[in-house]
């Protein structure tokens, strides 16, 4: 059984989740209960990074979970980034509109640089 986990790290104004396992029905409850997404990321944090490096399989249930997380975060003024997404899953993310609201980068360092730039600009 491929158990799903989401390990949390915090770096300044950014929350990072290292996702491990299949993003499918078994991940739905775990992901939706990680925090109260409607309230944002808490303590004034405005950036979420999702690390997909150890996510081998994403299905339509997983895509819907991502939408259900990103949607309230947008309303709360937070931005979501992702890395470690294979080209195939990047294609699926584009198809369902996720890439409109979740910027995909090749690695965490590139996202951190982008966030530092945004913070410097006061965005």
């Amino acid at each position: 059984m491929n158990e799903f986990r989401a390990d949390k790290r915090i770096a300044g104004g950014t929350v990072i989740y290292d996702l491990k396992g299949d993003l499918s029905n078994q991940a739905e409850e775990v992901m939706l209960e990680l925090c109260e997404w409607e309230k944002g990321l808490g303590q004034g944090r405005r950036f979420l990074i999702l690390n997909f490096t150890e996510v081998p399989y994403i299905n339509s249930i997983g895509l819907a979970v991502l939408i259900r997380i990103i949607r309230p975060l947008l309303r709360a003024g937070c931005q979501t980034f992702a890395y470690g997404v294979t080209p195939h899953y990047q294609k699926l993310f584009r198809m369902v509109g996720l890439t409109e609201h979740m910027m995909i980068y090749p690695n965490e360092e590139a996202i951190v640089q982008r966030i530092e730039h945004l913070e410097a600009q006061g965005e």
């Binding site: 059984m1 499918s24 299905n59 198809m95 369902v96």
Partner: protein
């Protein structure tokens, strides 16, 4: 219709995760028959989503009811037939535009959305009281 060069069938229980196991079997079969197939990942996603639909909507996740996947490869196409035991043809609603779909309270129903975009042809049918979804990828 061209002569089949490969035919195989897999049967799985109506349980979440079955679709992933069958993906691996299909991947092994196609990699052996048609090594280097460029659209293999699209095919695997499409059949996984079709199997999920069959499990959830066709068999109502009743573990006792099987889902059958048939693969036929001929000179011009890959044809996948996913069969469930739902006796009613699914009601396929018109797709909402993406922004509207995002506004739905529970934005599910992406399976058929993906299948249609990844494959060259997808159509439901029924035979002998069973419902099937045919998915075609041209070679």
């Amino acid at each position: 219709m061209k002569e089949a060069i490969f035919e195989q069938q897999w049967v799985m229980p109506s349980a979440y995760g079955s679709e992933k196991a069958v993906m691996q079997k299909v991947k092994t079969a196609i990699s052996r028959i048609c090594p280097g197939e460029q659209r293999i990942e699209d095919m695997l996603t499409a059949i996984a989503e079709a199997c999920l639909n069959a499990i959830e909507h066709g068999n109502l996740a009743d573990f006792r009811l099987p889902v059958t996947l048939q693969l036929t490869i001929d000179g011009e196409k890959y044809k996948f037939r996913i069969i469930d035991h739902g006796s009613n043809m699914p009601v396929v609603q018109d797709e909402l535009p993406l922004p509207d779909k995002w506004l739905e309270e529970h934005p599910r129903g992406w399976g058929l959305f993906l299948i249609r975009r990844l494959s060259d042809h997808a159509a439901f049918g029924s035979e002998n009281g069973e419902v099937y979804l045919d998915i075609i990828f041209y070679r």
